[in-house]
C-alpha cells in the first residue's frame, strides 16, 4: 500500500506535498450520449488505493458507462474526474490519458480476445503501449522478457499449458482467465472489470471472481467491478456502490448492505 502511494505521488509532483490522493476522485460527473438523457447525472465517488469496490444497479443505470468514463474510453460531459491524480476527460491531455490507461487493466464482460491469435499472443497484447511494443502483436516477434512475463501471467491463472492454443479454442471460463492474465501482465495498479462473470456459468463465475480477488490481494491492486450477481458484489468487495438513474443511491461497506438496499436499487 505504502509503495503505491509513493509511486502515485511521484507521478504528480505537487500532490506529494499535500499527502496521498485518492486513486479515483469523481465530482459531479455527468455523461450523456444524446444531450437529452443523462446516463451519469452528478456522480460523486472516491476510491482509495487497495480498495475492492463493486458497482451494482439495474440495466441502463450507468455502471458500464461509469467504468469506461474512468479511463477516458467514453468522454465525460461534465464534472471533474481524476484518476491517479491526473485529470481525465475534457481537462486531461492525451498523454495523461495514455499514461493512466497504461497503469490500468480492463476486463470486459465478453473476453474481447483476438480469436485467431494464440493465448500467449493475446496476453502479450496486454503490454501494448509500453515503449517499443509495436511489434508485439505476435508472440513470435515479442521480446523474450515479455514472453516470459506473459507466461508468468498465464501461470497465475493456471493456463500456462494452453499458451500456444488459439484463443477461440478455449472455453468461456478459460477465455475470461486469459483476459485476466492480459489485464495483469503489466502489473496494473488499478483493475476495472465490467461484469466479468456475466457470460459464465455459476461455478466458472465463482472461480473467476475468486481468482480476481486473490490476484488483486496478492499484488495490492485496486479493483472496481460491476456485477448483477449480488453474491459476487457482497462477497468479494470491501465496498458496494449502488447506481440508480445515473446517480449514487448508496455507497457503504459490503457487510452493511441489506436486503432493503438491494430492493431499493433494483425496484422501479
Amino acid at each position: 500500500m505504502l509503495d503505491l502511494v509513493t509511486e502515485n505521488s511521484a507521478d504528480t509532483g505537487q500532490q506529494a506535498l499535500s499527502g496521498p490522493m485518492p486513486l479515483i476522485e469523481a465530482r459531479g460527473l455527468m455523461k450523456s450520449y444524446d444531450r437529452r438523457r443523462m446516463v451519469l447525472d452528478g456522480i460523486n465517488l472516491t476510491i482509495e488505493a487497495g480498495e475492492r469496490v463493486a458497482l451494482i444497479g439495474s440495466n441502463g443505470c450507468g455502471k458500464s458507462t461509469l467504468l469506461k468514463s474512468l479511463i477516458g474510453l467514453h468522454p465525460i460531459s461534465g464534472g471533474t474526474l481524476r484518476c491517479f491524480g491526473d485529470p481525465v476527460g475534457m481537462q486531461g491531455t492525451r498523454a495523461q490519458r495514455l499514461s493512466m490507461r497504461r497503469r490500468t487493466g480492463f476486463v470486459f464482460q465478453k473476453h474481447c480476445l483476438v480469436r485467431r491469435r494464440t493465448v500467449l499472443s493475446n496476453v502479450i497484447h496486454g503490454l501494448f503501449g509500453e515503449r517499443g511494443s509495436w511489434h508485439a502483436f505476435s508472440h513470435s516477434l515479442a521480446r523474450e522478457d515479455w514472453r516470459l512475463r506473459a507466461m508468468h501471467a498465464l501461470a497465475e491463472v493456471d493456463l500456462a499449458d494452453k499458451a500456444m492454443e488459439r484463443a477461440d479454442a478455449l472455453s468461456g471460463g478459460q477465455q475470461q482467465r486469459v483476459a485476466i492474465a492480459r489485464a495483469l501482465v503489466r502489473r496494473p495498479r488499478l483493475l476495472i472489470a465490467d461484469e466479468p462473470a456475466a457470460s459464465l456459468d455459476p461455478v466458472s463465475g465463482r472461480n473467476v471472481m475468486d481468482l480476481f480477488t486473490q490476484l488483486c490481494r496478492d499484488h495490492a491492486i485496486t479493483l472496481i467491478y460491476t456485477s448483477h450477481d449480488m453474491a459476487h458484489a457482497v462477497d468479494y468487495a470491501d465496498r458496494v456502490v449502488a447506481l440508480k438513474h445515473g446517480r449514487v443511491l448508496f455507497d457503504r461497506p459490503a457487510q452493511r448492505v441489506t436486503r432493503a438496499d438491494l430492493k431499493d436499487t433494483f425496484d422501479g
Partner: protein, 266 residues
Amino acid sequence: MADRGLDAPGRWTGFSPLNFVLLVAVGAMILASMGKVAPSPQQLAEGVPGMANLVGRMLPPNTEPDFLARIGIRILETFQIALVGAALGIVLSLPIAWCAARGVSPLGRGSILVKAFVSFLRTVPDLVWALLFVASIGLGAVAGTMTIMVDTIGFCGRFFAEAMEDAEKEPQDALSAIGAGRGSVLVGAILPDIMPSLINSSLFALEKAVRSSVVLGLVGAGGIGQELKVAFDLFQYRNASMIILAIFVIVMVMEIITDKLRARIQ
C-alpha cells in the same frame, strides 16, 4: 374446404406504380439503344461467314519452336507484371485502407478524402492508366507494372478499408482500454481479425492482375498483349490463335490456383 372469410394477399404488393414507371422507362431506353448499337439480323448474317473465314485462317495455331519460345518469354513477362504489380499494390493498399477506414483511420474525418482518392483510382479503367504510364514512363513492362499497381490499390484499398470498418470492435476496445495506440490496435486486433478477408481480396486482385496484364500490351505496356497486337496488325492469324490459347491457359491456371487457395482459407 376453403375458408370464405380468408383472403389471399395481393400478388403485386411490393410493386408500386413508381417502380412500374421506372421499369417501363428502362425497357424503353434499352429498346431505343438496341436500334442504334445492336447488330441487325442482316449484319449478323453477313458477319458469320466473315468470322468463319477468320477462324479458318487462324487454324492450326502456330507451334513453331522459335515462335513458342518467343511467346514463352512474353508469358513470363506477363506473369512478372501481374505478380510485381499486384504485390506492390497489395502492400501499399494496407496503409491507404487504414487511412480510409471510417472509425479506424488515424486521420479521423480526413478518411473521406483518402476514400475519395481510392475511388478515383478504381473508376479510371486500367487501359487508361496504361496509356498514361506509357506516355509518361515509356513503352514496356514498367508501365504495365505501374498500371497493375494502381489498379490493385483501387481494388484492394476499398475492400481492405471495408474489412477494417467491419472488424470486431470488442478486441479493439480492449486494447485501447490498456493504452494501446492506433497502430498497435491495427496490428494487434484488426489485422488478425480480417486476415481471411485480406487474403481473399488479395487473391482476387492477383487474378484480376493476370487478366489485366494480358491486354495491357495492346497499348504498349508490355506482356503477351503486345505480341497479340503485332499478330493482328500483320495479319498473322495463326500466331494470334496460339497467343489467345496461351492467354486462356494462363488465366485458367491462375483461377484454379487462387480457387484452391481460397478453399483452403475458408
